[in-house]
Symmetry: C2
Subunit: 429 residues, 2 copies
Amino acid sequence: MNLLIQDIPIIPVTEPGLIIKKGYIVVEGDKITDIGNGTAPDGNYDYVIRGNNRLAIPGMVNTHTHAAMTLLRGYADDMPLMEWLEQKIWPLEAKLRADDIFWGTKLALIEMIKSGTTAFADMYFAMGKVAQAVEEAGIRGVLARGMIGVGPENDKAFQETVQLFENWHQKAAGRITIMLGPHAPYTCPPEYMKRVEKLAADLRIGIQVHVAETRAEVDDINKMYGKTPVEYLEDLGLFNHRVIASHCVYLTPADIMTLKKYDVGVAHNPESNMKLASGIAPVPAMLNAGITVGIGTDGASSNNNLDMIQEMRSCSLLHKVNSMDPTVIPAYQALEMATKMGAKVLGLEHETGQLKPGFKADIVLLRLDGAHMCPSHDYLANLVYAAQASDVDTVIVNGKIIMENKIITTLDETEVLHQCRKIARRLVS
Amino acid sequence: MNLLIQDIPIIPVTEPGLIIKKGYIVVEGDKITDIGNGTAPDGNYDYVIRGNNRLAIPGMVNTHTHAAMTLLRGYADDMPLMEWLEQKIWPLEAKLRADDIFWGTKLALIEMIKSGTTAFADMYFAMGKVAQAVEEAGIRGVLARGMIGVGPENDKAFQETVQLFENWHQKAAGRITIMLGPHAPYTCPPEYMKRVEKLAADLRIGIQVHVAETRAEVDDINKMYGKTPVEYLEDLGLFNHRVIASHCVYLTPADIMTLKKYDVGVAHNPESNMKLASGIAPVPAMLNAGITVGIGTDGASSNNNLDMIQEMRSCSLLHKVNSMDPTVIPAYQALEMATKMGAKVLGLEHETGQLKPGFKADIVLLRLDGAHMCPSHDYLANLVYAAQASDVDTVIVNGKIIMENKIITTLDETEVLHQCRKIARRLVS
């Protein structure tokens, strides 16, 4: 399908601060073929979307979540971390069936699409079901079966990862990428991590891993190995592969140099780190060192939503006050982290995260006519500091319209919510 | 009008954690006369609202803003504080006409109503126009003419305050309260503050004042008077009146005891303090000391929205990470700060902020059917940690429905946005 979006302001996130005040985007098949100021060249377009008081931005990239944890949203909050995990989250997760994860993921995808996310990285289990949901929803997913070396499923996780890779890698019109998902340094001993590293080399795929999320983790790894979590992973050779390192709250200056040296992508989760009181990641220092830092929501049980607009705003505000410097992470940089840099964290930097000819057509249109978006002194500032998820109105992924005028065309929202409510009742019964 | 709301879950904010799972609220005239579990007593109701997948909460209270600064939203961001004020905000404010403030305030009121705020404290100028907008919109306003002792309008501010008091105090069906608005210790020298104190005594009204917002302010007041801002205000007798102290970012333990001693109400503005990198107020310490702490958004030029749902969430998350304790400001306490405690900060604790017989009918209904609100393990957690402004669906103030199904009935939204866009263009031309 050839699609034309015209008479619309555009923030392409191709260069700092660039805003096309009134322009057009041409989509042919799954790609953007032209973008510019003013009026589009004459052409034979199957479908035309007029700006009509909207703004076009690249689809956002959620670099770290556990999608199906939507089912646990609001089940347990305001608790100390280990008590929360041991008494609440893990017992409920133990009750999850593969089909629950299918529906819970769909619920997450609805929420993501509605708030302008078009690609995400996910680590959980029953990942075949997650892939199925991603295929159906039409968005882009970088999926990893969570692997816990110290748990009963340590071997099964390898088998399932290989199976997942064979069934789903580069499938769904190329929208699905499979990665390995060793959970964290403290749950994956060296021998296990070495097997992970070897499989990454064999399959030539990337790795998602939680790194230095809490002070306790850093202390434990230091006690066990006399290393920081980053040193532990470096020494095991993990950074020779594409790695998404989630959280990275506690880093030494040497750790930061290491992450930069290996071009490790960092998934920063400001709101989860705030809500669980994990700490504040040294994001300005990482950005200054040239590390690629994207933004993630983490799972809905520690956030409790998957709203990347709110997350990008929280990211900017948190680091301003933590640095005592209001110029830190200005609006453009926050948006860049949520789009272009997020795409690079996922290894999709040549496909998505920018509106640019040759890139996949992953495009989000937001309404500009809400009272909270008025006046329009600065589209960029309004987007990052004032916008709401509900301003997102139309979402295009891979050239396909998957939401138009707030109606998702690929999933049956009523059915998904109904199923998830039913599952939630069963989980707590 | 007699109004019945029925078959609806209710969080009345009358006692910790209380949730009525399915109940009713009866409104007669401007007051709540009955509230309870199950079905309402038979009666002659003029209008019945069924729950229909919604949640009822008290209208939220924004304890500190400068409403008409919506006109400056997104005009200048990510700048050092003094540069931002001197080069951007103040020059633009100098261009503001009384009529601009009328429209800019209406824009703010639309945004507030749409996000569930039913009462607010405002400090700005041309406050007669603000009062007019509040009267028209149907919400509750505690209004103060900003008074700057060191500025050219130092005397005029007194005259205008007296005039405002005479024209508007307790007017608009009792929805408007007038206060004095000495801007801050550093802009109001002792002689000026003494005049403020005297007028407060003469008129028997309260005082709104910015207190210890920045480290620089604390240093300046210390240099000038050898005191903390709180000591400065105490010594001038201000705390003998009802005071709304905004910000209170930098307080000594003795300051905290002083605020408690005089029952000063604190307006905490987490997002403004984050965005301007002012610092993090010692809110848990204030709450532990028994101080009444409400939540405020501050003006839209430093936030950049007036969304109290987002603000209450930010309040909880910020203090969790700042205390490194996930149990700090749990969901109920955040909601209490945004409603019941906010009402007390404004001196309206016997009128609003709770759903309770005898209280004014200031009621907000939020939709529960968004994907981000599913499942419903906990209405309270979903409200504080997952909800969006756009979930607010119906707003009742003083027994009158001022928004129903997201349509504001008291203001012409199209006209207000049109006027504000026109004004914004003139301001920057």
